[in-house]
């Protein structure tokens, strides 16, 4: 006994669905992906290396460095130094004189011996200012900001290698011929930079100085997260716009600069 539609339903249920073709296609696609992984350049799958474009990195912010001379503040950080203390004035203990040896004396009447003998000399006591003072132990190490001879040539902007902490730390001027030029450039930018903001942060602005000294391609390389800080930094560079032409000793046509603006409270 069979239902009228049974044959039809069984036939439809058994119909092939052509999955085999798509399986082959899927296998081929996976092989293709694996082959792509094998043959693709390695930098497709990893973060590209830091751009090796000749970019100078400067940092604004912090106190300005000394104008000339090799003595720069050593990072503005406290430095331990052995300081020779002045010799402390030690209190002079005054030793009372030893009692005189007894002498052979004639016996005196009782009323005479009862009388207290008068001291021959007055015995001085310990001076009041010497009481309770700690004994000194010689020279001590103290914390303090000091100037040390770093042996570097300052360029007046705190940009020397061992320069001001936080302000002159990241300067790659060893490849640049003319640090004076940078000093001028930074001075011009700093004048137009409104560093007094309500929040703190760091903005890196990137720009290009042409041979004629014109500043172009000003972009915020890394923002601080605050629009006001980013705009203030960008504005400082944009307003500067024109500086001295690049030094002739500098061989390239453009100088790429990454300038870090640090906003501190």
């Amino acid at each position: 006994m069979r239902e009228a539609a049974s044959e039809l339903l069984v036939e439809r249920a058994r119909e092939g669905d052509g999955l085999r073709r798509t399986l082959l296609g899927s296998s081929a696609a996976h092989l293709f992906v694996i082959a792509t992984l094998l043959l693709a350049p390695a930098d497709w799958f990893s973060r590209p290396a830091e751009e090796t474009l000749d970019v100078m990195t400067l940092r604004l912010g912090g106190p300005e460095g000394p104008g000339v001379g090799g003595r720069t503040a050593l990072g503005g950080r406290p430095v331990q130094e052995v300081v020779t203390l002045p010799e402390a004035r030690r209190p002079q203990w005054i030793q009372p004189p030893a009692p005189a040896p007894p002498r052979m004396v004639l016996p005196v009447p009782e009323e005479v011996t009862r009388r207290r003998p008068e001291p021959e000399t007055e015995v001085p006591t310990v001076p009041e200012e010497a009481r309770g003072r700690r004994l000194t132990t010689g020279p001590e190490e103290v914390l303090g900001s000091t100037m040390a001879d770093t042996g570097v040539q300052g360029i007046g902007i705190g940009l020397s290698g061992g320069g001001l902490g936080g302000s002159g730390g990241e300067v790659a001027i060893e490849d640049f011929c003319c640090p004076e030029y940078l000093a001028t450039m930074l001075d011009l930018i700093r004048r137009r930079w409104d560093r007094h903001q309500r929040v703190t942060g760091t903005v890196i602005v990137r720009f290009e100085i042409g041979r004629s000294g014109r500043i172009d391609a000003v972009t915020v390389d890394r923002g601080s997260g605050y629009l006001a800080l980013d705009l203030a930094a960008q504005r400082a560079v944009l307003l500067t716009r024109q500086i001295q032409p690049l030094p002739e000793r500098f061989g390239q046509d453009t100088l790429n600069v990454r300038l870090t603006f640090e906003y501190r409270p």
Binding site: L9, D17, L38
Partner: protein
């Protein structure tokens, strides 16, 4: 140019020809080549699952696209035709649509009932010209449509559970490979006695490849499973709708 699969090609080179500065471990295939047999088995099973799930996904997407197009055409033909026989003639070219299967089942059942109704006359023909064959049981027709709908639903949902299975187990398989790889890595670290990053990192990275492969297989499977399930529901609704429409027409035209 340095390619991503460089370490794999380094395997094929003779030891003397290989670049001493670039050993295994600097690329994905290098990590796989260095991993244990079990880890490689895990990765192979994940690759097979990925192949299967992508094949099913692409096939079902293609199938649903065909179904949607042909269903629309079938509904159009069905509603414009005055006779079931005309619709039946169009069914051959619209076989992918599940409505075709439902219609054919209903049509066969309807024909069978009408033929029996004719046979019950005894004369083998109509007694008079005005008399027409009548539907004997609307419930039987309903059941036939229901059976056909059930068969069509099975066809629609075929292979889709494989996607759900892949989505569920692929991350676990990957995790298993990772755990196993980390066990092996720690054993190696224990043997070398060094805890430097250079010793620890390659083993961990090697182990994590399995988790990445598991997610690579599972994420598309999850997406396509949900997508296809939604499409199946839409087509199932269309099947129910059509079955009721067919029943109404049959009752209206063939009730005694």
């Amino acid at each position: 140019m340095r390619i991503f699969g460089y370490p794999a090609f380094a395997i094929l080179q003779a030891p003397g020809e290989s670049d001493p500065g670039s050993g295994f471990g600097t690329g994905l295939l290098g990590l796989i080549a260095e991993s244990s047999l079990l880890s490689q088995g895990v990765l192979l099973s994940l690759l097979l699952l990925s192949i299967l799930s992508w094949a099913i996904s692409v096939f079902k997407l293609w199938q649903f696209r065909q179904i949607e197009g042909q269903t629309e055409t079938f509904i159009d033909v069905f509603r414009k035709s005055g006779r079931f026989s005309e619709v039946q003639a169009a069914c051959k070219s619209l076989a992918a649509s599940p409505l075709t299967g439902v219609f054919q089942a209903g049509y066969v059942e309807l024909n069978a009932q009408l033929r029996r109704s004719r046979d019950d006359d005894g004369s083998g023909g109509y007694r008079d010209a005005a008399a027409r064959p009548a539907l004997r049981s609307l419930d039987a027709l309903d059941r036939a449509l229901l059976r056909a709908a059930s068969v069509e639903m099975v066809r629609l949902e075929r292979h889709v559970p494989v996607l759900a299975t892949t989505a569920s187990i692929a991350p676990f398989i990957g995790l298993f490979g990772t755990v196993w790889g980390i066990i092996i890595a720690f054993q190696g670290i224990g043997e070398t006695g060094s805890t430097s990053l250079a010793v620890v990192a390659p083993g961990i990275a090697d182990a994590l490849v399995a988790t990445a492969a598991g997610l690579f297989a599972a994420i598309p499977a999850v997406y396509f499973y949900n997508h296809l399930t939604q499409k199946t529901k839409v087509v199932a609704s269309a099947i129910d709708d059509f079955a009721l429409e067919f029943l109404n027409i049959a009752e209206r035209n063939f009730s005694p």
